[in-house]
Symmetry: D3
Subunit: 142 residues, 6 copies
């Protein structure tokens, strides 16, 4: 195979799963305003989700392996850096990054991006897609 065959970059995507409890709250607001803005998602005793996480890595294919990045390596990285911290946890209580950050899907995606960005080859682009439910999801960066 000839490296030059590929004119464009390829994206490789690995999907993983974790579940967690959370509640939405702006700690600078009083309870009434929090309930107005966040509704049921502000429930003081938490609710939870099965999050589906897609990590998308974009770069040129390595002609020696035929991989942008080995999906097994990517999966192991997501497991050790993200799932071990988030899975079966209460995001507000148990996860350091959300001590002062409201765990909306947008913010969770941003945190995962920030964790993984330094662990992925800097020549590669990184994007996070996070499903909070099958009908609500976010992508960062857009």
């Amino acid at each position: 195979m000839n490296e030059n065959l590929f004119k464009y970059k390829t994206t490789v995507i690995r999907r993983e799963h974790f579940n967690a409890a959370h509640r939405l709250e702006n700690s600078a607001w009083d309870g009434s305003r929090n309930r107005d803005v966040f509704g049921k998602c502000n429930n003081v005793n938490y609710h939870g989700h099965n999050y589906e996480l897609e990590v998308m890595v974009t770069g040129f294919v390595d002609p020696l392996t035929g991989f942008v990045m080995d999906a097994k390596v990517l999966s192991d990285l997501i497991n050790s850096e993200v799932l071990d911290k988030f899975d079966h946890q209460n995001l507000n209580v148990d996860v350091e990054e959300f001590q002062d950050l409201n765990p909306t899907a947008e913010n969770i995606a941003f945190v995962i991006y920030s964790i993984l960005r330094s662990k992925i080859n800097s020549n590669h682009d990184l994007k996070i897609r996070l499903y909070e439910t099958p009908r609500n999801y976010v992508e960062y960066p857009a």
Copy 2:
């Protein structure tokens, strides 16, 4: 259409969704045994799931409507009797039925069955299928 066309009963299934926090614990056991048995699911600060709920109603088709039971009526019933109590809640803390009952998928399915059984035509059979995650689910009665 002639009622006699149908020799057998038909099952009608409505799928609904709710999300909730929970933790697994036998309150008669100490923390060590609970952690041994329930592992990450025993996390004291709760975790959570997007539950997918299928309610299956079996009976003869009414020749006037062509329905065993109107799926819209079934959906409204599930919403008022189950989802309004469970959705965006902490099952252990917020839902009366789990004050003394460990909210495993098996027990949640049993509770939903018990709630709906009295609201469904007694000539109809009822079965609950509950997905805790896309890879773990239960059916009651078997």
Copy 3:
């Protein structure tokens, strides 16, 4: 392989897809009662669905082939007997079986069962699962 290895029957399932327009109506009722009972599904100009159809055939595995029934043969049968008549049609107008039968999911499943029953080995059991939407489906026989 020894035929006696199998103590029990096996079920083989083939999933196919068709889409169609329909409206729900009991022609013996006036418009007002039809609207009361069938709501939006009674819209005089029709609406439609992507139906997902599962045909389930149960019997003993043939030790010569390892098949209960070849899934390719089953797929061809569903295509020629059901999809060629139903796909991209208006069930109320274009399909003979619904000239006097309200095309509810229950009744469509019954009609498909009746069409296929005589085409499938009489030693085999037959069951139809029909999804009208991803959240509404029926099974016949129960």
Copy 4:
């Protein structure tokens, strides 16, 4: 949380469902040419689909809420502006926008985009993904 944490915009996606009847036809062509071009989709009595609609809104996260746009608000907007007009309808007959416009998936996506564009914060980008079947879908703008 510090607003500056986010260097990039985030996309928030809400998925909704409607079903409808339609037929494909260029009213400037005769029946023969319409059948040649549109095949089964030109069936004069209509056929139908379960449409899955994803509305994608891109912008900067509001540091007060952690949202680009509240998914509940987005869902309500899609329901009031799109689903109330399209769900359980015959697109060709019942929906004003398709009186002179062939209801292909491409054109339906364009119409939904046009309806929602003026209702969404003009600082936000908008994109529509519309599934006509699980195997055919479109995105507008590309």
Copy 5:
């Protein structure tokens, strides 16, 4: 919780995934007859699938745990007894059970049932659902 609350058994289902190569062939037949019966599935160089496996265990809920069987224990069992032998293998060549058995979905399901039956509590019923493709699957016992 009172054990007597449950009048019926509950089924617990765990879904796992493996992928494998196979070809369909009756070694007692010549090539011509094998090609006639098995078509493309008889390709001498093999083809392959992502198999989705559901293991269904039915029994009474243990009131101490709220489980019929811990899904984690069931998952570990499927991994050690089935996936470690089947995943990323050529079923015809690498897996002992198919040396003299045609690896149809029916026969694979039977083999998995036979492997797991002796490892599961004998008071529990066991059923295997195996997806060869999203549109072809089998269940054993029926």
Copy 6:
């Protein structure tokens, strides 16, 4: 309809399915290095997958048809140019393009792109999304 209504291009996507055997190997490396890099995917007797293929075509909508490209024409093209060559085959052995090219998902996507690029209107953009498993997929061009 007025062509000028559309300011932007639209993407049309068609999803198809094939299954195949493969193994990953760099023929310039010895067995030990191949096993180190490719792990189970290097199994000498092959394994296999159900590949889900999405072909994405981007262009302006033709105001006469309301199509960017007729999904039926696109489906026929994918079937004749790709599926007839790949489906139920051993990619390493049976498919000419992989005689000297490691059949990773990245390389398969590139090959499919190369096959289809010359068959699609050159004014249209083309993109391939290929699922090797439900949790591993690639896109080319990124």
